[in-house]
């Protein structure tokens, strides 16, 4: 990917302008040549038209704008693009692999979590991060999620987090089994 030319902000001047910032978003390399202090959220939304990350407060309180920077959940409304040079960022649009949803997205659908749906991208990004740290989260762990939901979907989010943890555990078990089977095959 690094070898491919970076995409530039189409509305700004020459791609080679000094002070441009390169960053990887959902596996694609981009070069930002606009205001370096522009928060990542507005770069994603206004420039790249990746609008899944939402604006809710602009001061890091609500979590609607949560993305992953180097795999960790971060609130993109507070992150100037200038601080992200060379970083790899994943947004809600980059979580599924093609048509295959991430287990957390799948669990969200199965538990029918969304009401208005506005905060849910952020909730999902925060949950994926939580499940990386705690594969089998306790209720207390889930209570550490601080993303706001104005519709009050918290009880269904709680169920969906547990379901996602189970889906991921099942997938790991299936993978391990497949690996074992493979290992057995190659044995003489």
């Amino acid at each position: 990917m690094r070898d491919a030319p970076a995409k530039v902000d189409p509305d700004t001047s020459s791609p080679a302008s000094p002070g441009s910032i390169e960053l990887t978003i959902n596996g694609e390399l981009f070069r930002h040549t606009g205001a370096p202090d522009m928060p990542l959220l507005w770069y994603l939304r206004d420039v790249l038209r990746l609008t899944g990350s939402k604006f809710g407060c602009g001061v890091g309180q609500c979590g609607a704008c949560t993305v992953h920077v180097a795999g960790k959940a971060q609130r993109s409304c507070l992150l100037p693009v200038s601080a992200l040079a060379g970083q790899s960022i994943t947004t809600i649009e980059g979580i599924a692999s093609g048509d295959d949803l991430h287990a957390v997205q799948q669990a969200w659908i199965e538990e029918d979590v969304p009401q208005c749906g506005y905060c849910q991208a952020g909730q999902i990004m925060a949950t994926i991060d939580l499940l990386k740290r705690k594969a089998q989260p306790s209720d207390a762990d889930i209570s550490q999620l601080t993303n706001l939901c104005r519709c009050g979907t918290y009880p269904r989010i709680r169920k969906a987090v547990k379901r996602a943890a189970q889906l991921m555990a099942d997938a790991r078990a299936a993978e391990a089994k497949a690996d074992d089977a493979k290992a057995n095959e190659v044995k003489p």
Partner: protein, 749 residues
């Protein structure tokens, strides 16, 4: 190089160099909600305004409502699909635009009722959308009857097929062209009997959940139009204040800022029909430039006439007002005589604050205004109101105004007013460009149509046997009827603050309900389940206090008051009848679920409350404990009767959400005023509840009912606050009579 050429150049350059596709993500890329092809444009495959059948027999159903999280994008199409006999798993739903048009008999809406307010979408749809589905089915059966040369009556339908008496199945897709050419019947078509339902009453998940969880669902704020500029406003923080002077020199230096200009506020005292406040608009190439430009403004404000207004002065005003006569809302018997004859009179005052709606997606509007047409794309609750407003502001005929609704990031009543649409139109006219207007969270909390503030004074008279003989409910509040459009000025006293026929009206010989209007410069509006949120808090808390003071069981006292199951007249929204038996039934079921009779001796307390709202009956019960200053909610139960249920999963969602919203609001939230300015400006000082504060589960029990269905968006809230304060009293003997609960509980403990 002109903008356009440069953009083309970059596009070409990058594609030539083998980079990933560009153009998809250029900042000129428009994101516009799709207008369904039609439903309007393909007459050969469309059956009426709501149904299109594709060649692969996939059925497309138009969703006419404003989806604000209440689930109408799923539940309304279910009504059509049921009567159409569609295979729900093969149905695709598309959001319809606003359907204003000039018909043969004058202006009409081709889709019927589209607004979201008062929990009316389901009852409205129950009346006409099933008929729309049944008519489309009738046409398909008629087409099959012609094809097979059989009488219409001998054919049946099943899951997107017409079925021949010999079992042969013809997909709707093969019949639709012929069906579209048949004249629909002039008389209404017979609807299914409930025992024939295959979709209504079965749990259905949100139809666009996949788009939501992948970030592809389009909300108003996600829409962009080529050539549109982004606008933000700095609004006057003083109620009814104005701009004294502006220094925009620093703002204009910021790259990307295109223009800065003043926007007038409404004339003080005039109806609040357009925007809410005077201010300075900053118009820029993108949001960040606009926000930076706004921070660089130096504005001197001229305070309005409300500089003396504060939450403290409002309370003083309310307590003083309550000593007066007020306006009679309902009076039965003679409460003064009941007081004289009483062995004992109990009295208590309950305080409820202003509330902001705080939709997760803040107000936003994307508009184009041209000499002969206008376009609005947005998250709306009242597209009809928006259409009238744009017509008034532009002079355009309403049929020249196109409105596309998107999924909305919450509503709660905030979007019933279109002040932000008015602002966007005013800015677009001045800028001469399409405008994407964004409100930030501080804009949203400081400028709203707030849930009214009030003090409720309740009194009950008791005879020697502790029997209730009279009930008085005096409400001093900032009336909802404030600077309303002319046609609303005839609203009866107490409108949206005190409900004449609410429990326990007509259940006691003596009743005295009066309203006392407070002077305030705060704009007021409808906030989810409007007056019921504070009405139920006052009444259902007071009933509990009466039970405690007279040594009666709080459930039994309510049941005794409700008496035998019967229908009472109810003049408010949700009437015309209030069924005491249905309220008693949800209360009983709730008491059973919380094990009301089981004594707790572990420091835990239980509380219960019930309420009738907009045709629905709800009871809540909570089990709580207070540990030091920490309130723990161990169990939360919600029992609801909304008549026949269209989507059980949707009703459950509304009850879980309503309960959590009710808890979050009752525990934490208040908008306060000081020196004529709103004090809250972020989720720091307007602290919507987070996961850790909320019960892990809300146990929802939906009553089986064959009554006409009503909506479920609002009845999940009113009984929450009183059930919770009743539970806190049971656990601690501390009675919280002032919302929000947590600061008051901490003061009292």
């Amino acid at each position: 190089m002109s903008r356009l050429t440069r953009r083309q150049f970059i596009s070409v350059m990058l594609s030539a160099s083998g980079a990933l596709l560009v153009g998809v993500r250029s900042s000129s890329a428009a994101i516009e909600p799709k207008v369904p092809m039609d439903l309007l444009g393909e007459p050969l495959t469309s059956l009426g305004a709501f149904v299109r059948i594709e060649r692969n027999n996939r059925i497309v159903i138009g969703a006419r409502g404003c989806e604000i999280g209440q689930g109408v994008i799923t539940s309304l199409p279910m009504l059509i699909a049921e009567e159409l006999d569609a295979d729900w798993t093969r149905v695709r739903v598309e959001q319809l635009p606003y359907g204003y048009e000039i018909g043969p008999d004058g202006p009409t809406n081709r889709y019927g009722a589209q607004g979201a307010g008062g929990s009316t979408s389901i009852p409205d749809g129950w009346k006409d959308l099933r008929q729309a589905g049944a008519t489309a089915r009738w046409l398909l059966v008629e087409a099959a009857a012609q094809h097979w040369q059989l009488p219409h009556e001998r054919l049946e339908t099943d899951a997107g097929h017409v079925v021949h008496p010999d079992g042969t199945r013809l997909p709707y897709a093969e019949l639709v062209e012929r069906a579209a050419a048949i004249l629909p019947p002039t008389e209404p078509v017979a609807l299914k009997k409930p025992e024939q339902f295959r979709i209504i009453g079965k749990p259905a998940k949100t139809v666009d959940a996949r788009a939501i969880v992948t970030g592809r669902a389009v909300f108003g704020i996600d829409c962009y139009l080529g050539g549109a500029l982004t606008a933000v406003m700095l609004r006057c923080p003083h109620l009814d204040g104005s701009v004294e002077s502006v220094d925009d020199s620093e703002t204009r230096k910021i790259a990307g800022v295109r223009d800065v200009f003043l926007i007038d506020g409404p004339v003080p005292g005039s109806p609040l029909e357009t925007n809410l406040a005077a201010g300075v608009a900053v118009v820029a190439d993108n949001t960040w430039a606009a926000l930076k430009g706004r921070s660089a403004l130096k504005v001197v404000w001229k305070p309005g006439p409300w500089t003396q207004e504060s939450s403290t002065s409002l309370e003083t005003q309310a307590l003083e007002a309550l000593k007066g006569e007020g306006t009679v809302v309902r009076r039965d018997g003679d409460m003064a005589a009941a007081r004289k004859a009483a062995k004992r009179t109990l009295e208590a005052k309950y305080h409820v604050p202003f509330l902001a709606h705080a939709t997760m997606e803040p107000p936003h509007a994307l508009v184009t205004v041209e000499p002969d047409r206008a376009l609005l794309i947005g998250s709306l609750q009242s597209p009809g109101g928006a259409s009238r407003l744009i017509a008034n502001l532009t002079g355009l005929a309403r049929e020249k105004i196109e409105i596309r609704m998107t999924r909305a990031g919450g509503g709660f009543g905030r979007r019933l007013t279109n002040d932000y649409v008015a602002e966007a139109v005013m800015i677009a006219k001045k800028a001469g460009k399409p405008i994407k207007l964004l409100w930030t969270r501080d804009d949203d909390l400081r400028h709203d149509f707030y849930r009214p503030y009030g003090v409720h004074q309740l009194a009950a008279t008791l005879d020697r046997k502790n029997q209730l003989t009279g009930f008085s409910h005096l409400c001093a509040a900032t009336s909802k009827v404030y600077r309303v459009p002319r046609d609303d000025q005839e609203s009866p006293p107490g409108t949206a603050c005190l409900e004449a026929d609410d429990f326990p009206a007509a259940l006691l010989p003596n009743l005295d309900k009066r309203f006392f209007s407070l002077q305030s410069g705060m704009p007021r509006g409808y906030w989810r389940a409007p007056l019921h949120t504070f009405h139920a808090f006052a009444v259902q808390s007071f009933i509990d206090e009466i039970a405690h003071e007279t040594g009666q069981d709080a459930v039994q006292l309510r049941l005794k008051l409700l008496g035998a199951a019967r229908e009472l007249d109810y003049s408010g929204h949700g009437g015309p009848k209030f069924d005491t038996g249905r309220l008693a039934a949800v209360l009983n079921r709730c008491a059973e679920a919380i094990e009301w009779k089981r004594k707790r001796n572990d420091g835990r307390g239980i509380g219960i409350a019930c309420h009738f709202t907009f045709g629905g009956y709800t009871a809540h019960a909570f089990e709580v404990s207070v540990d030091g200053r920490d309130l723990h909610i161990h169990r939360a139960i919600c029992v609801v009767d909304v008549g026949r249920v269209v989507n059980p999963l949707g009703v459950d969602a509304m009850m879980v959400g309503g309960t959590i919203d009710g808890l979050s609001t009752a525990l934490n939230l208040a908008i306060t005023v000081k020196d004529g300015q709103v004090q809250q400006s972020s989720f720091g000082d307007y602290a919507i509840g987070r996961m850790a504060q909320m019960p892990h589960e809300v146990e929802v029990i939906i009553m089986d009912s064959e009554k006409e269905p009503v909506g479920a968006g609002e009845m999940g809230i009113p009984s929450v606050a009183p059930a919770l304060t009743n539970a806190i009293f049971a656990a601690t003997t501390v009675r919280v009579r002032k919302l929000p609960i947590l600061p008051e509980l901490n003061r009292l403990l």
